[in-house]
């Protein structure tokens, strides 16, 4: 029975996301306030130049990878949970199909996302 471990990692992922997403949101959405206190250098955080500056550092590489992997896991576990609860007439086989489809979709997104993050890192450092 693996559901206990799925659930355990769902909660562990939540803790990781909590830390990493706070950084991401602080930088992306509270930048006005942070700049006011001089914590961040001024500039439009969405401009391409700023994106490359962030993509250059190893810290951001790690932050983005961690955030993406754990958020994908956390989100898709939650989605599976909700689907399973909503469709109690589904057979065991149907549940397995839903579980694997969600897993493969998430895996595809994770591979694409990792490629983007790593390619961005290489591009910015080139």
């Amino acid at each position: 029975m693996r559901d206990s471990m799925f659930w355990f990692w769902h909660l562990m992922a939540a803790i990781v996301i909590l830390i990493v997403l706070s950084i991401h949101f602080g930088v992306m959405h509270l930048e006005g306030i942070l700049q006011m206190f001089g914590i961040m250098s001024a500039g439009d955080v969405r401009s391409y130049a700023e994106v490359l500056v962030r993509a250059k550092t190893v810290a951001y590489l790690v932050i983005y990878l961690l955030l993406m992997w754990f958020a994908l896991y956390h989100g898709f576990y939650g989605l599976r949970s909700i689907i399973v609860e909503m469709s109690d007439k589904m057979s065991k086989a149907g549940e397995i199909v839903v579980g694997w489809s969600i897993f493969l979709f998430g895996l595809g997104l994770a591979i694409y996302g990792s490629y983007v993050i790593i390619a961005g890192f290489v591009l910015a450092n080139a």
Binding site: L21, I33, Y48, V51, A55, M68, I82, V116
Partner: protein, 149 residues
């Protein structure tokens, strides 16, 4: 002569998914449950789009500016703030859930002596503190979103 069948003729009476939204006069937590789900699903939907949209950064400045331009309208900006609100709520409620689902803040079992106090009521103050924190985060975010730009 009228005969009576012994077969059970029952009336289905399940609340179903509608019961998530409203099931009766329950306390705060039952409604936090459905809000947590709605917030979570919206964040997931945004997150999938977010991966594809920010993925454009590897295609150079032009592609980036083009895609940023297409999602730069007022409505998108308001949508982004709503996402911020959803994340603030989901995170603060999530902290409460993690701490209670591992049973860390719920205390020990007590003999049920009237008036009963459930574990949920024992931490009700904490629940409210987390909700107030969420509102403060939303307010700070709103200040940054709408007044500093």
């Amino acid at each position: 002569m009228k005969t009576v069948s012994l077969e059970k003729r029952t009336l289905p009476h399940r609340l179903g998914i509608g019961g998530w939204a409203y099931g009766g006069r329950y306390g705060l937590e039952r409604y936090l449950f459905i809000l947590h789900r709605i917030a979570g699903l919206s964040i997931l939907l945004y997150f999938i789009l977010h991966i594809f949209i920010t993925g454009q950064k590897i295609n150079g400045k032009q592609a980036w500016d083009a895609v940023m331009g297409s999602v730069g309208g007022t409505w998108f900006y308001i949508g982004e703030y709503l996402l911020f609100v959803a994340v603030a709520f989901h995170a603060m409620n999530g902290i409460r859930l993690i701490l209670s689902e591992f049973g860390w803040i719920l205390g020990k079992p007590k003999r049920p002596i009237y008036p009963y106090q459930s574990a949920n009521m024992r931490i009700r103050v904490f629940t409210w503190i987390m909700m107030i924190l969420a509102v403060i985060i939303m307010a700070v975010g709103g200040f940054d979103f709408f007044l500093m730009h």
